[in-house]
């Protein structure tokens, strides 16, 4: 256990690893129950087949593919935001990058499982390895998600090494595990140089990989001639939506762990203020893309496209569409553009709304186009079954459990980066400022 002689100035960051409150076990137990129930429902689906879901011949994609796109979208929170903040040398990044990177790792695992759940017969996944057709965007997706998951895991692991070494030196329950994972890190100049060099290469590499993942996911839809899907802006539209939902998920996680583990001294109002501004910018960008997408469809007035358009705007899916607009645009703009409401509570409300809104956006992309195909079929009906709802709940529970498990093993805030920030940030920023600003008394005569 924790060695009392090793009391650190950042002791509060080690606390979640060594101490668990009653709430931790209650929440963990509840989430484990939901997860196990979901597993049970999946086994039932395996036995009785996809007839257990609300999908049919017309609407052949439902909750599973919606959740797949949604969870992979959230994964952009982490590595992409962390890489951009590191690359732009934003000093306020230090307490938030770790949580962002963990989100990526967990949701990629959860999201990546959904197409297999959707298959009905998971053994058929072997067909991809034997006779898969590489011309299909589905196969590109498999490649890019695997690459993103590998890159994100390495990108999470490398900056974690100095913290693992700190945990190793403290001893305790998982001493052996920390010894294996720290690779003999002692903080020597050579080791620091190697680690820094690798992180720098990775942060540049991870950005195009992350963007490619969601672009390729959008191509699953836009490469078909289905009305409502065949659009050239789907790539950037999906990427913007992914970053948007990712930031919202990151804010929720930060607020929850700040409250639960008393990280108030690390996750300050300024961090939420900056992230709130970022969320507002993404909300405006998302609205711009949505408006451009729907306006061109409306002006084209192509009959099959209009069927889907009207189905979304004033038809069966209109309640979901307008809730999406309120959650993703109206609420964020009202709350985040006003100083009085741009508080942590305001941000939490906005972020939850955006998360719901972005899930609805994926629903609106997937189902209406399938329900109104180009061919002269009657309009399809999709009502999710209890199995699908249970598996969505199980996926959410798996996310929460994943985060809780991580918090028991590793620090949720990068301790070495905080220490480095304290020692060097002021000097680094002042040196940088001196480079930006014109020197005093430099007047041309």
């Amino acid at each position: 256990m924790n060695n009392p002689q090793n009391i650190d100035e950042d002791e509060v960051l080690f606390n979640p690893i060594y101490h668990s409150g009653k709430g931790f076990y209650i929440l963990g137990g509840a989430m484990l129950t939901v997860l196990l129930f979901g597993v049970g429902m999946y086994i039932r689906q395996l036995i009785f087949g996809l007839g257990e879901t609300g999908m049919d011949g017309t609407v052949s994609w439902g909750f599973y593919i919606i959740s797949f796109v949604f969870f992979i979208g959230i994964s952009h929170a982490g590595t992409l935001i962390s890489a951009i903040l590191r690359l732009s040398k934003a000093e306020w990044r230090r307490p938030i990058t770790r949580m962002a990177e963990v989100i990526t790792g967990i949701v990629l695992m959860i999201g990546g499982l959904h197409p297999i759940i959707d298959l009905g017969r998971p053994d058929r996944i072997l067909h991809i390895f034997q006779r898969g057709r590489l011309q299909s965007p589905l196969l590109w997706d498999m490649t890019s998600i695997t690459a993103y998951f590998t890159a994100s895991t390495i990108y999470l692991y490398l900056p974690l090494i100095p913290d693992i070494a700190l945990l190793r030196d403290r001893g305790g329950r998982f001493h052996k595990l920390y010894k294996i994972l720290s690779w003999g890190y002692d903080g020597t100049e050579k080791q620091k140089h190697v680690l820094e060099k690798a992180i720098n290469i990775l942060m540049v590499m991870v950005i195009p990989i992350a963007i490619s993942v969601h672009t390729v996911i959008s191509w699953i839809f836009s490469m078909t001639l289905q009305p409502g899907w065949h659009s050239t802006i789907f790539g950037p539209y999906f990427v913007v939506g992914a970053i948007f939902s990712g930031i919202a998920a990151l804010i929720i996680v930060m607020i929850v762990f700040r409250k639960a583990y008393h990280f108030e001294d690390y996750l300050k109002d300024i961090h939420f203020n900056y992230l709130g501004t970022l969320l507002l910018v993404m909300s405006l960008l998302w609205f711009y893309f949505t408006f451009a997408e729907y306006l061109t469809t409306f002006y084209g007035h192509e009959p099959t496209e209009m069927r889907v358009f009207l189905y979304k705007i004033i038809g069966t899916y209109s309640p979901f569409f307008w809730i999406m607009v309120v959650c993703n645009f109206v609420l964020p703009v009202i709350i985040l553009s006003n100083k009085k409401t741009k508080t942590i509570t305001g941000l939490l409300i906005t972020s939850i709304a955006v998360t719901i809104g972005m899930w609805l956006e994926r629903l609106i992309v997937v189902v209406p186009s399938l329900a109104n195909p180009r061919l002269p079929f009657p309009t399809g009906i999709y009502i999710p079954s209890f199995t699908e709802i249970s598996l969505l709940a199980a996926a959410t529970a798996a996310f929460i459990l994943g985060f809780m498990a991580f918090s028991k093993l590793f620090p949720l805030i990068s301790i070495w980066e905080i220490k480095e920030g304290r020692e060097e940030s002021v000097r680094i920023v002042s040196d940088r400022l001196n480079q930006y600003l014109p020197s005093k008394g430099h007047i041309k005569k």
């Binding site: 690779w183 003999g184 080791q191 290469i201 990989i209």
Partner: protein, 86 residues
């Protein structure tokens, strides 16, 4: 000799090498998979241009990632205090 082998397998470095080899296995596996899928696309007369571009990119990404991790782990091992003292 036997005791040397026994002590090596008992060492943490052995586990670390196994962990690292998983990444190389993944990179090799993805390479084999993509090569197989390009072959399949030739067999069934699919349009290959996109397939080949995606495969080449995919293969490079996985090998670079495996290379970076190996570089870090070997670098950390060599940069240890003990190693420097020697």
């Amino acid at each position: 000799m036997f005791s040397k082998i026994k002590s090596f397998f008992g060492k943490i470095i052995f586990i670390q090498i196994i962990l690292l080899s998983f990444l190389w296995m993944l990179a090799s596996g993805m390479t084999l998979l993509l090569i197989n899928l390009v072959n399949v696309s030739y067999e069934v007369n699919d349009h290959q241009s996109a397939s080949i571009a995606i495969s080449i990119l995919g293969i490079i990404v996985f090998w670079v990632l495996a290379g970076i991790l190996t570089y870090v782990l070997v670098g950390l091992y060599r940069g240890r205090k003990k190693e420097i003292e020697i």
